[in-house]
């Protein structure tokens, strides 16, 4: 009889414990069996650094390992184009007109990818047709959104467009962190396909420049 009581009490306490851990506060991550096997010992993206071993303060390491998680300066990711070096000022903006698009004309597979990237990153403001009528524009949340089909942008060179995407322009932020250099050039090529094929406009412009 005594043995039975002990077994019953043990069973109920285990059940109670399990039920209680099941009803945790949803603001807390809850309990886990083996933390060592759940939380990585190696450094993972967005996991906090163990301050016993690591520091992000280069000047004051105090015997800890300095680690800032940034790529070494000057490193280029595999498959990435060479860095864009023009400075973010009016001189750099003017010089950017000379920069040529390094990519060959888009083949179908690449243009599908470029269209996808444009629709994710650009169409939210510039609209799927690049007419400056994306959801954030038509709802009036962001102003001064460029209609990329205007003659001003048809005659703008690829290099200047790249400069604006790289550093941002007016209300637009820099997309250097979101799009690789290759992707940015691809998107510019895709924008060209959205622009009206008004061969007359750029020609007239160049004629005017020649006259001057």
């Amino acid at each position: 009889m005594k043995k039975n009581t002990i077994i019953t009490v043990l069973l109920f306490s285990v059940a109670g414990l399990a039920v209680m851990t099941g009803c945790e506060n949803k603001r807390k991550p809850g309990k886990i069996y083996m933390p060592d096997m759940t939380y990585s010992r190696a450094i993972e993206t967005y996991a906090p650094l163990d301050s016993v071993f690591f520091t992000t303060d280069e000047k004051n390491p105090k015997g800890e390992i300095y680690y800032n998680r940034k790529p070494v300066e000057g490193s280029i990711a595999r498959g990435e184009l060479f860095p864009y070096t023009l400075p973010n000022d009016s001189l750099g903006y003017a010089m950017s007109a000379q920069v040529k698009n390094p990519l060959p004309p888009l083949v179908t597979k690449d243009s599908v990818e470029a269209a996808r990237l444009f629709n994710i990153n650009c169409a939210i403001c510039h609209g799927a047709g690049a007419q400056g009528n994306g959801p954030l524009s038509t709802s009036g949340k962001i102003g001064a959104i460029a209609n990329l089909t205007l003659p001003l942008y048809v005659s703008m060179t690829d290099g200047t467009m790249f400069h604006s995407i790289h550093y941002g322009k007016n209300n637009m932020g820099s997309y250097a962190g979101q799009l690789s250099r290759l992707q940015r050039w691809q998107i510019i090529q895709y924008v060209r396909t959205l622009q009206p094929k008004a061969a007359a406009a750029p020609k007239a412009d160049s004629a005017a420049v020649a006259k001057k």
Partner: protein, 414 residues
């Protein structure tokens, strides 16, 4: 008679004149509004400075009332020569686009701006929706009542039998009370065993799983507003999901792409689960503090620091999971694993991220198998000779992830 006719003619002429005048007037005003929205609204607001100066009272601030008419059509030339234009360029640091508008069109726009009044905010209709009624309590009470009735009926039954037996003269042993009745005890133990076992196992499995985990974030960021109302693609911010193992929490720069321009929250009121209101504009101010952005001067003049978002979805270290493999190759929607994020004000973990859940999906999902005849599908799968032959022979019509080894242990545990 002729007098009447004259009066009638005069009156009709008068009304015609009035009507003409008033029609002309309204069409003029509407013109100004339409022209403003088509040409100016991107950079100017009637009542506040935006990219450029506010338009109300512009003619009073400018050197002379005709200045605006000259300016709009000669922006590029006047920026070089006109002192007021230079001063405005220095103040707003944005060059206006040159337009080609007629004088009366420009006047109409400025008339519209001068007459513009701020719209009266409309109070939101109705309060918060009534909470859905919970029926479980009602069902519980009903069950209890039925159980009590059943117990009473059982007692009545045994009493009646006892009376009938006494009448017939049959002698029986005293009935055993129900708490010592072996069949009752057995039933009780069985129910307890089933219920206790079920909850114990469920709770034990719940250990280490974080379904429903909804931590408080440093900024009240609503996915419902961003991905729902504003239709921003998931990959705009979480672009890493298509290229790498991690979906990546966006950097502050990504937030500032839009929030350089969007300074205040004007949408529907956001309410926390405890009923308190969220001040969207104050949350945007928090973002500016992290970014070091000065919204008045439009420059980053403070040192920025990253936002320490709390990671919600966490797989144990002994599981390998790669986002790009699922998003780019598998072409899975984000919502498959993360739920209807575009409807969540605060994100909670939607799936339990258990191994059974992974395996189930791998058993059911079909890969984008390469079709040798049409050239469609993922070319990687051209190496699976046997499946190609089986499909040709009609033995199978599609290939699941499991078939190509998606449930092998070492695919995820190594």
């Amino acid at each position: 008679m002729s007098l009447n006719r004259r009066i009638f003619n005069q009156l009709s002429a008068f009304f015609l004149f009035i009507a003409l005048f008033s029609f002309a007037n309204t069409s003029f005003a509407a013109d100004g509004e339409a022209l403003f929205k088509a040409n100016c609204a991107n950079c100017h607001k009637p009542l506040e400075d935006y990219i450029g100066p506010m338009l109300q009272g512009a003619r009073k601030r400018e050197p002379n009332p005709e200045w605006a008419v000259k300016w709009v059509n000669n922006v590029n030339a006047m920026l070089e020569t006109d002192p007021y234009a230079k001063a405005m360029l220095a103040k707003y640091n944005a060059r206006m686009t040159q337009f080609n508008l007629k004088e009366e069109e420009i006047t109409a726009i400025l008339d519209y701006a001068d007459a513009y009044k701020a719209p009266v905010p409309v109070a939101p209709a109705g309060g918060a929706a009534a909470p859905a009624e919970d029926n479980s309590l009602l069902f519980g009470i009903l069950t209890l009542i039925l159980a009590v009735i059943a117990l009473i009926l059982l007692q009545v039954n045994s009493s009646l039998r006892k009376l009938a037996d006494e009448k017939d003269g049959i002698l029986r042993a005293d009935p055993v009370p129900f708490y010592r009745n072996k069949s009752y005890l057995m039933l009780g133990i069985l129910v307890l065993f089933c219920f206790g076992g079920y909850t114990t196992i469920n709770a034990a499995m719940g250990l280490g799983r974080m379904q429903g985990y909804q931590p408080e974030q440093p900024i009240y960021y609503s996915h419902k507003v961003h991905a729902g109302t504003n239709q921003i693609s998931c990959l705009y911010c979480h672009g890493g999901a298509q290229d790498s193992k991690h979906a990546n929490v966006p950097s502050v720069n990504t937030c500032m792409n839009c929030h350089k321009a969007i300074k205040e929250y004007k949408g529907e009121p956001i309410v926390r689960e405890d009923g308190s209101a969220v001040n969207g504009t104050a949350e945007i101010q928090k973002l500016y503090a992290y970014a070091g952005w000065n919204a008045d001067k439009k420059v980053y003049d403070q040192p920025g620091k990253p936002i320490e978002w709390v990671k919600i979805h966490n797989l144990p270290d002994h599981v390998y999971f790669n986002h790009s493999q699922h998003v780019k190759v598998g072409k899975q929607n984000c919502q498959t694993c993360h739920g209807n994020i575009q409807e969540m004000p605060e994100v909670a973990q939607f799936s339990d991220l258990s191994m059974g859940w992974c395996i189930n999906c791998h058993r059911e999902s079909k890969v984008d198998f390469y079709n040798k005849a049409t050239g469609e599908g993922n070319k990687f799968y051209s190496i699976y000779e046997k499946f190609h032959n089986d499909i040709k022979a009609g033995k199978m019509d599609s290939v699941t992830v499991e078939k190509i080894g998606g449930t092998e242990c070492q695919k995820c545990h190594y």
